[in-house]
């Protein structure tokens, strides 16, 4: 309840100065919008020039394919961040989905195993969504909690062992077959990313996600079902994390509960470096894709140039600070 004099004008800044600040702000926002593309292109060119094997179809396709299990969750995690949440359970869900699929592949049809693995992720995502919205528990804590529970379940299920499907060759089809000389896992990634990008940018639901994350109260008063929108985002994130887990399991034909330990952070790093705000309401899927690939390029570059991989982590850390700092700074300037 406000007891302040209502007649106090909301913005006590003379209009001329506001105009100046506005044009400067627009410039900054544009920097953030396009932001990640410039360093990405620069790095791409630099690597092409310095490393012979970099600019080959095999290397580039390999990078994308290796990133499949990061790109898919990152695309969906972008939806969660944009709608005002955060999902730390990505890695745990990835692990559980892999374990579930690997388990079922031993006894049934591989398609059922894939679908069940992904279904487990959808389930966890829905739980995350309900806990973080209807139960009003902070999303960071809620998904941290579910990640412990989910990891625990995976460990229980496997008894801490690795499940192998080496004699189940058809299970490998999801990641191992090729279509037009490109692996199926890359095709799956492409489809998921394009669908989610389209969903966020063009659909009614996507608009509501921006509204829910940008100003939940305004969205609610304007008739948006904020909780429903956020639950869908969490459900998609869980599903995508699980799909990543199933793809990787299909690729290596084995799974263990601890395999996704760092994934949530890798994914978030990619999304945030891409320029999606951790504060909600700002971001897009293509940026996350570029962010993830940018980090992958750094790794690839360190490999190809034979640099000490320790510096890779340091540069990633600095990059993250820069990305979040730029976001905070643009918001500060607006306020």
């Amino acid at each position: 309840m406000s007891l302040i004099d209502l007649q106090e004008p909301a913005s006590p800044v003379p209009s001329r100065r506001l105009g100046l600040a506005r044009s400067r702000l627009r410039g900054l926002v544009d920097v953030r919008r396009g932001g990640i593309l410039l360093p990405f292109v620069a790095l791409f060119i630099a690597l092409s020039a310095t490393s012979g094997p970099f600019l080959t179809k095999a290397n580039l396709l390999n990078i994308v394919d290796q990133q499949a299990s990061t790109l898919i969750p990152a695309a969906a995690a972008t939806l969660v961040l944009v709608s005002g949440g955060i999902d730390l359970s990505i890695g745990a869900v990835y692990g559980l989905a892999g374990v579930t699929a690997a388990h079922l592949a031993l006894v049934t049809n591989p398609v059922i195993a894939w679908v069940a693995g992904v279904g487990v992720g959808l389930l966890v995502g829905l739980v995350n969504g309900f806990v973080a919205t209807v139960a009003r528990i902070n999303a960071l804590i809620a998904t941290l909690a579910t990640s412990y529970v989910v990891s625990g379940i995976s460990s229980l299920a496997t008894g801490g062992n690795i499940i192998t499907d080496f004699n189940r060759h058809s299970f490998n089809d999801l990641a191992g077959t090729s279509l037009f000389t490109v692996r199926t896992s890359t095709w799956v990634t492409l489809v998921v990313v394009v669908v989610l990008a389209f969903l966020l940018a063009r659909s009614t639901l996507g608009r509501y996600m921006y509204a829910a994350g940008g100003n939940a109260e305004a969205a609610r008063l304007a008739g948006v079902r904020v909780h429903k929108v956020q639950i869908i985002a969490f459900a998609l994130s869980g599903t995508a994390a699980a799909l990543g887990g199933v793809i990787d399991t299909s690729r290596v034909l084995s799974a263990q509960s601890s395999s996704g330990a760092d994934l949530a952070f890798t994914v978030l790093a990619g999304v945030v470096v891409g320029g999606t705000s951790i504060l909600g309401g700002v971001g897009s899927v293509w940026r996350s894709v570029v962010g993830v690939l940018f980090i992958a390029l750094i790794g690839n570059g360190f490999d190809l140039l034979g640099l000490d991989p320790l510096y890779e982590q340091i540069s990633l850390g600095v990059l993250l600070i820069l990305a979040v700092g730029l976001d905070a700074w643009t918001r500060l300037r607006r306020a």
Binding site: M1, S2, L3, I4, D5, L6, Q7, E8, P9, A10, S11, P12, V13, P14, S15, R22, L25, R26, V29, R202, S203, T204, L205, R207, Y208, Y210, A211, G214, N215, E217, A218, A219, R220, L221, A222, G223, V224, R225, G281, V282, R334
Partner: protein
């Protein structure tokens, strides 16, 4: 502190002016406040009394004019700077740390310490000495968060006194207090005065002001009407002095609905947190104004109507259909659209485009198979923005880049797209300059002319009277008076809104 009564007044203001955007909040205010007195500032919502308090306490810097403190010119850069000169503020929102004890709160940031550690015994000795000096009795070791609001206020007062404040500005100190707590606060103010402190009291409650103050300054429209001794004033002379704001906006002509116009919104015995037993109806073509002081429960009432705030009793009917289990979304479908009080916090997505903001409530109708039909959206949005005259009508610009008036029109555009039966506009001209104000008035009148029922919430009495066919006045969560908007006077509205709570 050793102070003899200085020959000059404690505070002297000369020609203080302050402007926010297009709104002149203070117009050449000159004022003397004598040392050791309680000096009250009164006026209706937006008369400038809080702004004036903030100028004296260094929260706001005046655009022009001079301020003298005990004969010396001063220009405060911040509340901290003002405090160094012995000027402290007790704001409406108290600044206490609930997890610290009373004594710790009072000496926060100025604790007696040795080698970085607080000397607890010293702290509590000083606290008791201070309490005795001022005449308060708040237990030193009680956690501040467990204290009553009145005692928390006393901590703030103690804090001010501990920092040698000789002038304390209190902005609506009794607004959040119970009757008994208010009496405690009054005693505290009297004991401050008895010890030579000067108190500037900004208050809505005229009886409180008359009881406590030595001198009263009445403000109207940012200017001083008069300063006089409290003994020479009464509630009715004060209300009279607040009246007659200069006309800085003209209103479109009124055309009230015929006696047979159907009821569009019917509210019966609606109760919710902050609202009790509200009953009224709005007919097609009718503009009903909801007046009252800040905190009287107007926004709470409209939020309860649209279901943004849970009601515990009562009913709402739209065109005769009773709306149960209300939520903003369901009420939109029923045909009730609300333009919220605060554009930035409750209305807009500042980062998103004007088009997105405009289409937000009706996006489903602009979509096919869950995808937004961009061409259709653009066409519809451009049309409606032209209708409400948003300039410049660039649908792709971020909403945050629009002026206050244009942001407000954007919200009207969003509401129009919903094709409502009932429009609720909460403070539609708050922070909007005079030119844009008139076009918002025209919009409101035009919408009523199309057969909508309009409920207009405004803190501006002139605006309520200028637009409404009927005026409801709220006080303390209840609708206390219904007035005919065609003949009602500002005096009647203010009298109903201001009549003091039963203090003493």
């Amino acid at each position: 502190m050793h102070r003899v009564v200085p020959p000059a007044p404690h505070v002297e203001l000369r020609g203080i002016s302050k402007q926010f955007g297009g709104v002149r909040a203070l117009r050449s205010v000159s004022l003397q406040i004598r040392a050791g007195t309680v000096h009250a500032l009164v006026g209706e919502n937006g008369a400038g009394k809080s702004t004036l308090g903030k100028v004296i306490s260094g929260v706001l810097a005046p655009d022009s004019g001079e301020m003298q403190l005990s004969g010396t010119p001063v220009a405060f850069r911040s509340p901290r700077h003002a405090l160094e000169h012995g000027v402290a503020t007790i704001a409406q929102e108290l600044a206490i740390v609930p997890e610290l004890t009373a004594a710790e709160n009072v000496f926060l940031g100025a604790e007696p310490r040795r080698a970085g550690y607080v000397r607890r015994r010293d702290l509590s000795e000083r606290y008791h000495a201070l309490c005795e000096h001022v005449g308060f009795a708040v237990p030193a070791h009680q956690l501040a968060g467990r204290l009553r609001t009145a005692d928390q206020q006393k901590l703030e007062i103690l804090r001010a006194v501990a920092r040698d404040a000789a002038l304390i500005i209190m902005d609506e100190p009794s607004a959040a207090l119970t009757r008994e707590e208010t009496l405690h606060l009054h005693e505290a103010i009297c004991s401050l005065r008895a010890r030579g402190c000067t108190v500037v009291l900004v208050s809505h409650f005229l009886r409180e002001v008359l009881e406590l103050a030595d001198a009263i300054t009445v403000l109207r429209d940012g200017a001083v009407v008069r300063t006089s001794l409290a003994s020479e004033e009464s509630e009715s002379t004060l209300i009279e002095a607040m009246l007659g704001r200069s006309l800085d906006g003209t209103f479109p002509p009124k055309s009230p609905p015929g006696a047979d116009a159907p009821v569009r919104l019917a509210v019966e015995w609606l109760s919710a947190p902050g609202v009790r037993d509200a009953t009224f109806a709005v007919r097609a073509g009718e503009i009903v104004g909801l007046a009252g002081l800040v905190g009287a429960g107007r926004s709470e009432l409209v939020h309860a109507i649209v279901g943004a705030r849970r009601a515990h009793a009562g009913s709402v009917a739209i065109d005769g259909r009773r709306a149960t289990r209300r939520s903003p979304r369901r009420m939109l479908r029923e045909g009730v659209v609300m333009i919220p009080e605060s554009r930035k916090e409750q209305g807009l997505l500042l980062e998103r485009s004007v088009a997105e903001n405009t289409a937000l409530s009706t996006l489903a109708s602009l979509s096919r198979l869950g995808l937004v039909r961009a061409g259709r959206e653009r066409k519809v949005v451009t049309e409606v923005l032209a209708k409400v005259a948003v300039r410049p009508a660039r649908p792709e610009a971020p909403a945050g880049a629009l002026s206050g008036g244009n942001q407000q029109k954007l919200l009207f555009a969003r509401a129009l797209l919903c094709q409502p039966a009932v429009l609720i506009a909460d403070e539609p001209t708050r922070g909007v300059d005079v030119g844009a104000r008139r076009s918002i008035y025209d919009l409101v009148v035009e919408l009523a002319g199309q057969g909508l029922g309009v409920l207009l919430v405004s803190s501006d009495v002139e605006e309520v009277l200028g637009l409404s066919h009927r005026v409801l006045v709220m006080r303390g969560g209840e609708i206390v008076r219904e007035l005919d908007g065609m003949v009602a006077t500002e005096h009647e509205v203010l009298e109903a809104a201001f009549t003091a709570r039963g203090v003493s």
